[in-house]
Amino acid sequence: MLLGIKQILFAGLGIAGISMLYFLALVVGLSLWVIVPLLLLFLLLLGRWLRDYETNTLIEERSPWLAILFLAGGLIVTGYKLCGFAEKYGGWDAWAMWNYHARFLANGDAWSLFLKGPIFDHPDYPLLLPAWNALLIRLAQGNAYTLFPLASSVFFTLATITLLYAALARKSLIVAVMVLYLVVTDAYFLQTGVSQYADTPLAFFFLCAVICVELGRENQAYLTIAAACLGACVWTKNEGVLLAGVLFLFNAKSFIGNKQYKYTFAAIALPLLAWLVFKIGYAPPNDLISKANEKTTLQVFDTTRYSLIYQYFLQNLHDRFHYMRILFFVYVLWCAVIRKFPTHNFMAVMVCLMCYLLFYIFTVNDLEWHLRTSLDRLLHQLMPAAMYLMAISFTRFQAVPISSIRSKLHF
């Protein structure tokens, strides 16, 4: 199963790296004839880098064919549902922003023109998804404007589900199958997945980072991949900076200690370079930050905002993430039973959630409109990672003898 994880990581990081290199090639003004061999060389090096990792200590294969069979069933059902949810041009934000940017980036000469557009085009949004789609469109000689964004969204949705399942199946097939069932039957997750927004790629890379940080406890080399995944988060959406920053801070000792800092820096060098070139050299300031003023700061004292945010948060949990609510209570109960505090990575995800909610306090937009149009997608970004971290703790049930639970409960 671990090989499955590594290959999905390769595919994800391959897309992220290609997107960054393509953007940098546009900045330098390289022609497609030079870009393509460079990207192929990058893929070759990435493949060798991931292949060379020592993984023997991590392989725990129990009935792999059964696990693959369950996954195949899950993916077929998901695929069938995705066909029903997909829209021709994606959701509104997909064609009005992400795919709109891709149409510019697919043109080697006019790529930077969209940066001069109005603020509601959001020209400051990072370019992982648009640049990747743009390269594919350019390779298809300016055709298939709807095909590649659709293919990318299908890939990221299914890859997130597969990665979640594969990472859990290493520890417990039962837990992995239960989680697979929950995700496959989650219409909101699938619908958002094929909406062609960048929220699912961000959820995917954040999940990759969390899984690699967890694997890093068994094999330090995975921390380097985790750092690369955090870089991909930053290059996917502005919120990715927060997710990457929080997870990095919570695991700073692992990322920096034991001479790991050299590998961490090497892994984030390319994403950081692409992001800095884009943000400093090209992107206009973010509209929410540039519009902020003294009144925005005073909003912190407005208690009605807190209650409205809380109300929308609960409403979202109830309407779109109902099983996450149940899972959360079971998880807290489980932590109480085994007398263990939630893992610090789970706490990192909770801090990200709190930051997202606090961010609404200071929004310059109409709060109700902002909550209505974006809160569900922010929760969608955190959902796979949170689900993985809760589910992985349940896999420890097999490792905990009942007698020890009884003794802890003083039976």
Partner: protein
């Protein structure tokens, strides 16, 4: 056995690739048959590319049509930059309701040079610049 090991090692990624390819192909084929509001504009703008080259900048004027249509124009005519609602460019695309087609065409053509025009059942489209 070696073959079986290779299959087993790559089963997940192969499975994922196949499902992604099949879902994309089926969805795309199904969606290609759908006709959306965006497709109406896409068909209308098919002939504009020679008159309005890529990288060009133009202003957009909407006459008695919903404001959200500007986003369709932006998307479909990228990589060209649209100025709306402020007129910053001499090249202007005017989209109006067909009920006012004659008066619009006359008023524009009497003052400006019409570079391209199109009309469908709902809208009239005029690309013009100053003489």
């Amino acid at each position: 056995m070696a073959f079986l090991h290779v299959i087993k090692s790559n089963a997940i990624i192969m499975l994922l690739t196949v499902v992604v390819a099949v879902v994309t192909f089926c969805s795309h084929r199904k969606l290609a048959q759908q006709h959306t509001e965006m497709d109406t504009f896409k068909m209308a703008f098919e002939g504009i590319t020679t008159a309005l080259p890529e990288q060009s900048k133009f202003s957009l004027q909407l006459f008695d049509v919903p404001q959200h249509l500007q986003f369709y124009v932006r998307y479909l005519l990228a990589p060209r930059l649209v100025y709306y609602p402020v007129i910053k460019s001499d090249t202007v695309i005017l989209i109006g309701n067909t009920t006012a087609a004659d008066s619009l065409t006359n008023s524009v053509s009497s003052l400006r040079q019409v570079m391209w025009h199109h009309q469908d059942s709902q809208f009239i489209y005029l690309l013009s610049c100053s003489r």
